[in-house]
Point group: C2
Chain length 591, copies 2
């Protein structure tokens, strides 16, 4: 029980020198990526750089205690940081005293929402986000994030969080580009883009051992940070207009109880919900992939609680909203992390940096951070999926295009709501139209198939319909309509058989609808029969007045029904192995 | 084509003396009910009595031209009138100059929404209203309607449109009850309640012919109206504080173009949508039942257009929102109406009353109209369904109790939204949890069943799962989770087979999910196979990269898969008639 609540008790006792060594190695590699990224994502959210570093400390410790993933790397991530920027700048103007408080409130609320979802097992809510909607949303967010960093590359000021606001703003300020900043940014950007593929190979060609080359290849961020900081300091670039990170307070974050206000909590409730959903979906998807690679167990509900705890930690240590990140988790896994101890050691490294190395970060240029963000979000941009999805399903494609377009033009909140709304509506629309087949006999056999697809034998006075979905309120009207139309069009009908083999469940609307169909058929002199009703459906029908009121019979299998109702066409049929089997194993109820 | 747009062209040419005679008889019987009810529902909506009479004229003519139901009786109905009262009193205070304009705006908007739904074939939106939600909503509305009429029975003034407002208001004003009004109202109420069952029987006992007795039994409303009006006039009851209908302008309504305002249109858009949905659902349900009784055709999309046209007519003739009514349609049908000519003749009767008989209605007491409303809505109250539904399905029961409770306490709009919201959420929740069975072999046969229910043979290295629903975004996560858990728990597994016999369709999320499952299984050294994939699903998979990436095979039937993967358990099995049959008819694709 305790091990279920605190998974650390389960993996903690298995720690040994070998796994700890691997975890430490992975922790150092992740920290080298995390420290500049954390500051960059804090900048993206409009927060001071230490907010990102603080978000890489206590939240990691808390996730380490509660998390069930062995290799997930938690901390500030790009999309959630953008959503944070959008949400809090609507509540408090950027730069105001309440701006950071709003970020902490957002972390508190999304943490609370995650814990609540985990405790109430409401993780299913995240399933309202379909893959195409998430993919389109993240791609559009990546474009918006890259767009927001253009000002740091050019050394200009821009406004706006959507493309229609951002593009004219960039165009208007293009003439005030700072050439030194642009040159520095271009150098860093080119180096980072090249190093994504070429650095490890180049190092190997220079004669380094393969392992060391791979390791150094992962240090491209560190190299970019060190070299650009050195250049800024040595060449006195701030006097040429290059913006730097500046002073970061030395020391660990103190535990604080921010003065959360009721109005701010209300104003941020919806954005916090969206951040919790998107943050969890991103995190669980990478955690699932990594757990599967080593056949490890993962509990989504406990993951929600662990991420919620991490965000609580962020709220009370002056940090910002966090979740599991894609790229750092992959690096953590590849670098050989064995247990969540890697995450704890990463946090320890961040703590050491905060205690001793902050003065070294003073001259780190913002252009470098912007380049780091842009390279990171390029990996999120996935327009190929859009093309695939469109080919696969027009409905999913439409949801995807809508999410993408609305996110780019109207912002992240509108885009996400439009995507979810449209995909739920389309889903309901398609579930309102179940596939209904009229059945006919494969001549001389006990097999029945769709008359629209095969040449089959039918009895003119018997209408046999098979519904290929469970029956519930969004789709019962179609069945009523179909039966009504067929009966109106064929005056010779005397019997209607509903073959229920594909109906796994019925709700109260379906039962009422079947009763209405039965009553309407009876009122115009037709009998209504059921065949091949599954066990759980029969249980429910037996608790309703339908079976008493039924004008016809319940048949075990459709061939039995046809033998009773249309002996003229079934006389020549061989015995039915299917019916025989149903009777032998007794899985279907007797009518 | 013209006959499709104007069904009157189809049935009009079939009119003859015999059907016209029957239609006229039905028209007169309906008019006798309609005229007092129309005034009563206008009063319920807070409108002058002529608004109800006007709503029984042009809208009926328009429905007669466009409608596809032969026996539906259109006009003001109780629930829509209550919704009208609630919606317009939030926009304009009752009694203000704009109050009636708001009602006309509401008719225009709900008419436009109905026509739009009909043209775009969006009738499926009405299926978001599940039977239990509609039933609970109408029952709660009936209680609110009856409650709102208490003041007319007692001759007092009350305020409030929900029980928590209404009950204290009635209690506070109870002491000012007008005893004469109460006596008159009680007499009418008792007479109407008794006549619902007893009048026709009593008349027959008095020696009248059965037909005539039935006919006169239906005239209870007319008798109540005539006798109470006569009593008020003869005894000069207005001087004792009995409220009467008063002067109704003589003559037909003139065609008017109300000065619709943009703000009012915006404010009434949501209530108009709800009125359109509820109005259509009520109307189509009775129309379907009546059409089925005579095996007549009914087109829901054309019905939407016809009801929309009727509401347009209401908006431009100083009337109020209309729809098809339950009780009058039943009476119309029972009285022998053959064609929509009955509706046109009903409208003609109303026109004659407006032209010549309005002075006779001056002394009609409002208490009589209130009693007519209360008796009419009693028929809508259906608490029995709540009990049945709860026994059948707790989820539907919960949606029903919520709708009922919220409607009574917070009003019709909140109740309807809560009910629809909850039933859609519950529906999505249940579709997120598909039934997944692990399959085992019925020893020595080619049949496979759920291992949790039967004693079956399984191969320790093969996991065979059958999903009993189509796969789409709300439920794919459960399949991923189940496979992940089973694989983590059973290290001896080498193969996973997904039996797709019950999967009728897959969306893009499902395809991506299958690809993720395949990739995760492959990364931990397992093969992923599919079996019994249906045609439409295979078509879609073939357009995706899944089949190329699949680490295992696609098998025609599950027994083939087991023969290939676990020959040790299938060696003793007889030949599979199911597999043989699949191969013979070739309905499943070859892997």
């Amino acid at each position: 029980m305790l091990k279920r609540i605190f998974p650390i008790l389960a993996w903690g006792v298995q720690l040994n020198r070998a796994t700890l060594g691997k975890d430490l190695m992975a922790a150092l590699v992740v920290a080298v990526m995390l420290i500049p990224q954390a500051m960059a994502y804090a900048m993206l959210a409009g927060l001071p750089p230490q907010a990102g570093l603080y978000a890489s400390l206590v939240p990691l410790l808390l996730y380490g205690v509660f998390g069930t993933s062995r290799t997930l790397a938690v901390g500030p991530v790009a999309v959630v940081s953008l959503m944070t920027a959008v949400a809090i700048s609507e509540v408090s103007p950027p730069g105001s005293a309440d701006y950071h408080l709003a970020a902490l409130t957002l972390a508190l609320l999304s943490g609370a929402f995650m814990v609540l979802m985990g405790l109430l097992r409401l993780g299913f809510l995240t399933q309202l986000l379909s893959h195409p909607v998430i993919s389109a949303f993240i791609s559009a967010a990546a474009i918006l994030i890259a767009g927001s960093q253009v000002r740091h590359l050019l050394g200009i000021t821009t406004t706006g969080k959507t493309l229609p606001e951002l593009l004219p703003s960039v165009a208007a300020n293009l003439s005030s580009t700072n050439v030194v900043t642009l040159a520095l940014a271009s150098a860093v950007l080119v180096f980072l883009l090249w190093s994504r593929r070429g650095l490890a190979t180049a190092l190997r060609r220079l004669g380094l051992a393969a392992d060391l080359a791979t390791l150094l290849g992962r240090s491209a961020l560190l190299v970019a940070v060190l070299l650009s900081t050195l250049a800024v300091w040595a060449l006195d670039l701030p006097s040429h207009g290059v913006s730097v990170v500046g002073a970061i307070p030395r020391g660990l974050p103190s535990l604080s109880r921010p003065e959360f206000s009721w109005e701010m909590l209300q104003a941020l409730a919806l954005p916090a919900t969206m951040i919790a959903l998107i943050g969890f979906v991103e995190s669980i998807s990478i955690a699932k992939t990594l757990a599967a690679k080593r056949r490890q167990h993962l509990d989504p509900d406990r993951e929600l609680i662990a991420l919620g705890a991490a965000n609580f930690g962020a709220a009370f240590t002056g940090a910002m909203p966090v979740t599991g990140g894609l790229s750092r988790s992959m690096v953590n896994f590849d670098a050989g992390a064995q247990t969540p101890a890697a995450g704890l050691l990463t946090a320890l490294t961040v703590a050491l940096v905060l205690l001793f190395l902050t003065p070294l970060l003073y001259f780190l240029p913002q252009a470098t951070l912007a380049a780091i963000i842009i390279v990171a979000v390029l990996a999120l941009l996935d327009l190929e999926t859009l093309r695939h999805t469109w080919r696969l399903s027009k409905a999913d494609g439409a949801a995807m295009v809508t999410t993408f377009g609305v996110t780019l033009t109207l912002g992240v909140a509108a885009g996400l709501l439009a995507g979810v709304g449209l995909s739920v509506l389309l889903h309901l629309f398609f579930t309102t139209r179940p596939h209904i087949a009229r059945l006919g006999q494969v001549a001389g056999t006990a097999h029945y198939r769709n008359v629209d697809r095969h040449a089959l034998v039918t009895a003119p006075h018997v209408l046999a319909l098979r519904v290929d979905e469970s029956l519930y309120f969004p789709n019962v009207a179609i069945l009523e309509r179909r039966i009504g139309e067929d009966v109106a069009a064929q005056p010779e009908l005397t019997d209607v058989v509903l073959v229920c083999a594909a109906i796994n469940t019925v709700d109260a609307s379906a039962v009422e609808s079947l009763m209405a169909i039965n009553q309407r058929l009876a009122s115009s002199g037709l009998r209504f029969h059921l065949a091949e009703v599954k066990g759980p459906v029969m249980d429910r029908l037996q608790r309703s007045p339908l079976l008493q009121a039924l004008s016809g019979q319940v048949f075990l299998c459709h061939h039995d029904a046809m033998q009773a109702l249309a002996p003229e066409i079934t006389a020549t049929a061989d015995t039915s192995p299917r019916c025989a089997h149903l009777q032998r194993t007794g899985t279907a109820p007797q009518g």
